[in-house]
Amino acid sequence: MKQKSLGKTFLWLFLALPILGFSQGTVSGNITDSNYGDPLAGVNVVVKGTSQGAISDFDGNYSISVANFPATLVFSSLGYETKEVTVEGPTTLNVSLGESATGLDEVVVTGLGTSIKRSNLANAVATVSNEELVGTTAQTTLDGALYGKLTGVNITSSSGAPGGGFALRLRGISSINGNNQPLYIVDGVYVNNAEIPSGLRFASGANRGNEENSANRIADLDPNDIQNIEVLKGASAAAIYGTRANAGVVIITTKRGSQGKTEVKFSQDTGFNTIINKLGLRPWTAQSVEDTFGAAEVDLYNQAIASGGLFDYEDIIYGETGLITDTRISASGGDEKTKFYVGASYRDEEGIIKNTGFNRFSLRANVDHTISNTFSFSASSNYVRSSSSRSFTGNENEGGLSYGYTLAFTRPWINLFPDDTGAYPDNPNYSGNPIFVRDQAVNEDKNNRFIQGIKLTTNLLNTGDDAVKLIFNGGADFLANETFVYVPETHQAQRGNQNGFIGVGKNNFTNFNYQGIAVWNRNAMGGDLALTSQAGISYLEQQADLIFNQSTQLIPGQTNLSQGSAQAITQTTSTVKEFGYFAQVEGNYQDQLIGTVGYRFDKSTLNGDPNKFYGFPKASLAVNLHNFDFWSDGVFQRLKIRAAYGETGSSGAFGSAFTGLNQVSVGGIGGSSISALKGDPDIEPETSSEFEVGFDAGLFNKVNLEVSYYNRVVSDLLLSRVLPTSTGFGSETTNLADLKNEGLEVGITVNPVQNENFFWSSNINWWFNRSEVTRLDVPAFPQPGAGFGLGLGTFYIEEGKPVTQLAGNVNGVPTQIGNVEPDFQMGFFNNFTIAKQFDVSFLLQWKKGGDNLNLSRLLTDLGGTTPDLDTPEGIARNASPIAAVRFVEPAGYLRLREAAVYYRLPSSALAFFGDAVTGIKLGVSGRNIFTITDYSSYDPETSTNGGAGLSSGIEVTPFPSTKQFYFHLNVNF
């Protein structure tokens, strides 16, 4: 039977081909918004069933060549309902598209080789479009750009330095010592998001690399290159990614060309940033100086007052206005066989501390080519050169480098500026002069990075009812990172000790991955049931080679490694290999019932047994009630009920299985000393199983509602726990706990006013997460590296308590004193289009509840410089013991995260430029414009431990956050 029908198809094709072959031509026209007639730019126009496509320009004009008539043109644009129109021949076709606030027709990746329409999706997969990501204001990094735009996401900033330093948490903490950052996939390439320390801790005395406040390397990706981002937040959506997906998956698709006229775009953002808020000076009087520092200090204070007043070192160090420029140019277009997108961008950002900054030069070339009906390929190439200068912030121990430390102790009547000879005075209050550090010490990094993705698709079979294709995709991400730290021998804490410090890091990372997938689409039951099956393999390899060279006892004024008499080298290499099989079947019965089952097997060299496969199942069902016959439109136009279950895993960090000996030396003799980490040779991946239920509804023709509840259990949680140190070991990473996260996510989109001259759309994201440690095989313990012990407060792993609890010693008993998990979070986005020409938008973010441990204040209290020390609260606080409970502060806030006004020049104004210019858009915008919070320091979003598993909410003298303002110019040619 099958053969017969196949034969018929081909016979028909054979007969039709010659006729169709001659009926080709061009269809062109204008695309507008059906609500208010505004031209729609960037609409994809595709000839259905072919790869021919075009994209509309700023005025909504499109032109597409059609090979065979009659043809069906598909008009689609993110945020609009997709429309299909059949054309019989070359013609002018004007189309208007209706808003689709939910993006129901947008396609979401659900398998490794397949995708599904959002309206049929059984998971709450969040999608962020280019417009949502960077459409309001300019963004330095893509993770920072996601603040407030997705439900279920918590973003922490470990540094306000240009170039970022962010950690993304999807649906709470799912992994503490495994992969605790989401997997980032850019055009099929598993990219590196390492946070690479510069080794400045060997000069500053910081405890660990993650206290150095380095950037995470997703910062190399230009957010403007991104077409859209899909965030698979939990195991139920991400199961097909197996052992890499415990912390979620962020799938990034970059911009690609489409068939039609070559479009050239130029954009220029110019702006500046300033400190987000200043904490100010303590209101000093001679009396308070004497009370705090003794009578002798009063003379110094009086001298300063007499000779021009106090020095506000906070303003002197953090008070710069940093200039930001971001220039981008791109061209895209193509013909029916080949489509391209090429772009270049350069961003240059100065920090609020003199001599700090970030710049990034990015080149991108994305090419899609159809070789034949059978073969096609896509290539995505991205070269990035970025560099940053981040100076010295965060935790330290007597290095005299970190500004927050220095400022905490420096009294404002001390003049630290260089004298006439250029000599910097010593700081009498601390071990470093911040002006000297700012002007003379260096902490820089440089990155050369090449990310190449490739995808080859082979259409093996297409009979109408059966289609089989093979997809091979993969890629490589090569990153060469160089760090340079220099502290001159004249620095106060260096003189007579290290006598100058140079640290040079040369760090190479190579990631490569590939997948081979066979996809079989079958129309069964006469087309009522569409089955999409896929099976394949996946391989991932990550190599890292980190070399750190240190030189001290420097020849004065020299910055070359060899100009020091005490040198040390450390090298850390690692190779991780992972291999997996996967298979998935998806069935769609008349868009009414959509079900998926899938399974993945993974093995990894990170596990104790590198050849043992671990299995990760998934299953989901979506029921589109509105597509059933019984449905009658009432209040609900649309109602989908969905449920999904899935499992993912995460292997331990490299080295968790090994117990080794470290190199030591004494008196010129080398030797071996036990490494603090006790390896677990039987280490297994932790597994997270998530069940998610929810519904999506369309109400009153205006409101879209998406509600999801999830319950995720992480079994055999990998935990680095403190061992009794009398064993000689410090810690071990093993599977020894279970963790539960549950939460609710609500997304509401409303279009309250839809007039021709006034269009308002509004979006509310509201979510919360709760966690609990449900099993712990060992006594409760402070999480190593996530705090400063129970004396000052720490994360504390304890059965029956949230994993995010902060604990401290209260009367000798470890006691919960706070919880960094917010009660809930909310993003409130509004967009207004006024008189067709103006766009006004803003994003408010509200974090309710959640605590921080503000240890910056511990330092300023000790230094006597906290601004509130003369208030009753300050006096009472200062008289209380130094205990963790003293430094817990509420960290909720309401922040105007983004706001912008844009103006599009009307077509009449563009006529001035003739044909050369097809669109001009001007705008002003801002980021972090205001914040309302009870938190006493710079930013409630803070972390002293970088992006590590439990890192948020503990503050030690960070690089202050900034607010940024921009002027935008976009020109299309």
């Binding site: 700081n427 470093g432 093979l470 007579g496 081979g516 004494v666 036990i674 000790l862």
Partner: protein
Amino acid sequence: MKIIHKYKAIGGLALLILFGAVITACSFDEQVDPNRPSLAGVLTDASQNQLNNLVVGVESAMRNSLAIQTTGSGTMARELYLFDADPRNTQDLLGANGISLDNNSFYSTAPWGGRYVSIKNANILLESVENTEQVTDTQKAGYRGYAKTIIAFELIEVLKSYNRARIDVADPDNLGPILEFDAALTAVRALLDEALTDLNGAGAEFAFPLAGFSGFDTPSGFAEFNRAVAAVAAVYAGDGNAALTALSNSYFDLAGDLTIGPKHVYSLDSGDFTNGLFKIPDNNGDQIIVHPSFIADAEAGDTRVDSKTLIRANPTTQDGLSGDYQTALYASNISPIDMLRNEELVLVYAEANILANDLFEAEDAINVIRNSASLPVYTGALTAEALTTEMLNQRRYSLWCENHRMFDLRRYNLSNTLPIDRAGDQVFNTLPVPLSENE
């Protein structure tokens, strides 16, 4: 056409299967640490080189957290203040505002952890020596004598800070109990005697080099160190006669150079440490400030005050505490720190004689110390009580900032005699055992 398509499909699938098979066929190798030798690798059939590397590991780790251990107990015993950016040095350790010591802060966790790293290395060495045939039995005895002596030395340091110690730590998965002071000290003394037996059977030369044991790096030389430690342990146990016996077999020399003894040595070499008790003179924000009472209580003309302390260019104040003097104990960041020098042994001799009721001999020893500090001979009462007071005072000045004072006052129940600098401060004389010991 359809046939072609079919073949393509079959061919493609076959290709994919082949591809998958190729990948799985090459299974992953057993993983080894590319960055460092494994522990398992030295536990069986270790070469002499590997054993000697462990010997270095033992000696090197004796210096772990030595600075924190010394400044912590020195602060608690009002010998000094540590003015740096961590307020716990001036708050917790001095009991400010009614605070209690925390069992999860650096000052309580680091000295404990540091000592047990050295002990762990010594235990690895002992196990490796058992499981190898690459060295002779005589050589093995040398390794054992060395390892056991160092374990005992380190356990005494634990007892001085914590008043308790976990003795049996050879098996990390099956730790012995934490013993109280007397029981622990008994075990330590037995271990020292065991080590002496090993050293006595270790031939003329060690099979390994040592760094800070110049003059003590042969079995017989090291045995003298072993006995010196045994003498210290004996006086801590109140056993004067045993101490005297042990001293007679050590490098104790009433008439000799008081500086003689093994040292923790430092260098700028890669993998080596610098002396954490060295502080840049007149620096701010990272200072060991001499407790004013140490200056005020000193006898006029005591040269130890001048040699160990230095007046600051500017007096310094932090957290309501102040001082005019800073440490001058070490000239540079690679100056050695004494483990146990003859000066301490002379004082141990004095103490042992007081315990053994030979007060004249005790007085003689005290006068050796006094004379070395340019002080006149002792003229006080010749009673055990008065001599003990004098002996402790000489220990205070001879061993300032060397992790003795807190324990000396505790073992003589004199901690309550310490001055209180700020209203609300308290005196603590024992560190809490770290939380991670899970008691």
